[in-house]
Amino acid sequence: MRDKLTIKDYPLSEKRPELIAGQRGRKLGDITLDAMVSGEVQMEDLRITRQALQYQAEIARAAGRPTLAENFERGAELVDVPEDVIMQVYELLRPGRAAEKTALVEAAKVLRRDYGAAKLADFIEEAAEVYERRGLFTYRF
């Protein structure tokens, strides 16, 4: 197993460029204007990967920022989640959007099952508990 990254590896783009690639595996150094003109580089190549966010989480933790690391880990779990699903879950988490707890619990289940988003699922379940206790599952006119 490899060692966790530390602040010595930061910034990754300078210190550890070999670890970094876009969504389709294209290395940082290969993301160039010319490659873009020829159509080889597309928007997908300009997206962060799950792995890169895990690395940033390790660096954040090494820098003494555990909560930031957890956010990066939740973010990593969302990398492969499509935008419309992200927006649906976000909307559901807003006050009064879900009529009852089960809607949030269901959303957590989907994230856990379809996208391997365990931390996010826990997080949403926690929200569901608190929302229920605080009476947020009520229709807002």
């Binding site: 928007m43 930031l68 990593a76």
Partner: protein, 756 residues
Amino acid sequence: MNRPSNRWRRYADWDNRPLRLDKFAAEDPKNGFSAFSSPADPKPSLTIEDGRVTMLDGVHEADFDMIDYFIARHHIDVAIAAEMMAIPSAAIARQLVDMHVQRTELVKIAHGLTPAKLAEVVSHLNALEIAFAYSKMRARNTPGNQGHVTNAKDDPLQLAADAATAVAFGFDEIETTMRVSRNAWSNAVACAVGAAVGRAGTLFQCSSEEAEELKIGMSGFSSYAETVSVYGTERAFIDGDDTPWSKAFLAAAYASRGIKMRCTSGAGSELLMGFHESKSLLYLEARCLCLQRGMGVQGTQNGGIDGAPVTATVPGGVKELMAENLLAVWLDLECASGNDARTTESEIRVGAKILPYLVAGSDLICSGFGTILKYDNSFNPSLLNGEELEDFLVLQRDFEADGGLTPVSEHRILELRRRAVEALCAVFEELQLGRPSKQMVESVVAASGSDETESYSPRDASLISQAIQDRSITVVDVIKALLRRGFREEAENLLAVVKLRVAGDYLQTSAIVRDGRVISAVNDPNTYAGPGSGYRVSEPRRREINAIRDELDQKEVLRSEALHEAAERRRIHYQARGNAFFSADAREVVIGISPAFGVKLFQTIGGHPLSAVLGVMSDAIAARGLKPRVVRFKHTADTSFLGLSAARLAGSGIGIGLQAKGTAVIHQRDRLPHNNLELFSNAPITQVEHYRQLGANAAAYALGEMPEPVVVPMRGQAMGSRYHARVAMIYAIETAMTAKDARPEEIDVKFLGRAS
């Protein structure tokens, strides 16, 4: 008979000052108007059972509202909290200003403190201590700044030009928003292109509705987000249509798309929203900040923000804004430290507000500085705006403080503005979004604000915005369009910023891009430990900051004098006639001129030719039937001694001392050097007519009369600030020409082109 006034009229003067437009609210904790403490604020307390927080600031677990719960579960570090809470607040306050206590140690303490405890600690500090602690505790070493780029018409061409301008002045981040919300995409493309002109690395955000802002980020146009607001009471949070979990989810969503993000909070928001629970502003903000750390956002935009104006109406409110910024950095969050919404109409209050931040430094001193004119700011006017940008540059120079900005030459700015507009026109044409006319381009390039432009209207921008959205145009399309039209450098710069999201280095705390490199609290941490440590303005940076426009130096003074020399040669001729002696002629008044008078210096500070001054004085003396006689002194350049020496040579015992810069004195033979008869010390406002009267009065004294002294009316101009640099340089030219034992010299003055 006039009735006695019932008012000291000074109050009427005060009524007319801009300050009186500001309203001040009485302290009233019950109704939320209290900066630092309120009877409703809880006493700090924390109970941990089985590794779980069961009591937070007096609230039992069963009664936790959403915010209490989130803080208890996600902020409080239960491993250390009991120990940290046990440290007396005053002791922690002292550590905050103790340069021997490291930042990292204090950050650890904060992670074990409750909101009430955090608020209590900083309440022990006075304003200076808060500023000092802020300087010590802020996360990144190098200070930075953020600017607003918006305009009243949502005109994309102007946005591009103004974005490029902001980038040139050094803003690390630029933020736009719209007059008409559907124009978001047009604004985004325009600013992204403009920000790519001149240099790479300026981060850009398009402040709009939450979901849309995220979409714009995903399309690659914007690189950060900050309008993710949180609130300190549950009711305000719900009215803001979010919860800590929905906002934290949004934070994760931004991270998942490689977009930098910070939250927004600040005193006064709960007050304005009507759900303040009678708590103090500081306590509520402490809750917001603990929440943000718990959410795992890297930073915050706080310091009042939209609530800053109402906070500034409360006693201690401006100090509270500083205190809440301190809480943010103490909790180890990046801090975009407010100083945006204009809190006052008083320029004095503006300057006083910004100064602590400027000298302390901040991750982003303003969030944002209005880079455009006040009326063009779609966020509302900022504390500092386009009108006052040069004032800020000068403050940096005054205090040798790095506010993140750098003076730029007029020529360079014009070049960049044109380039930015042309680049955007090229993108619009390539992507068939529009064909701006030459006239539109020209009107925008030179415009100070949108009042002066003949360009796109808000409706035009809506059509462009809709097209960008409908056709799913991304930053890749824009980069390609730039490249096709030969804007290679701009294409490179834009790509460089989008590429940041692949590695995500700029997602770490307090990240900005300088010289193509990401610097953040990770690789550029603030390690202040007393004088000589922490951020220091380097010599090259100092020179950059100093290079404001129109600096005066002696070369410039001599150059401007040389311009007048030729004209003076045509008006007057000075002929030296050897040593000057006392004359017994009682009808004679001597005018003693200074060493450089008409030799190296040719006009007064007030801009009057020396020939004119000497001419009217001589005429006035002659008009009384007396004889003016000009003598040049070279042993002194001092006005009093010029006057006294002149008086001692004069048969009448009356002399005038006249320096080339226009300072003049009437002196009498037997008086003490500085006990003159009349003095014109304010040369800049002394008119030719005054010099004529001075000549007349000198003649009157010579005739034994007691004339009314000539008074040059002074209206309170800051003479020193306006003229002393020039005066000192001119006077140095005079003193350099003096010689200790030089004899007075008789001068024949011939006024050329005159009948006599």
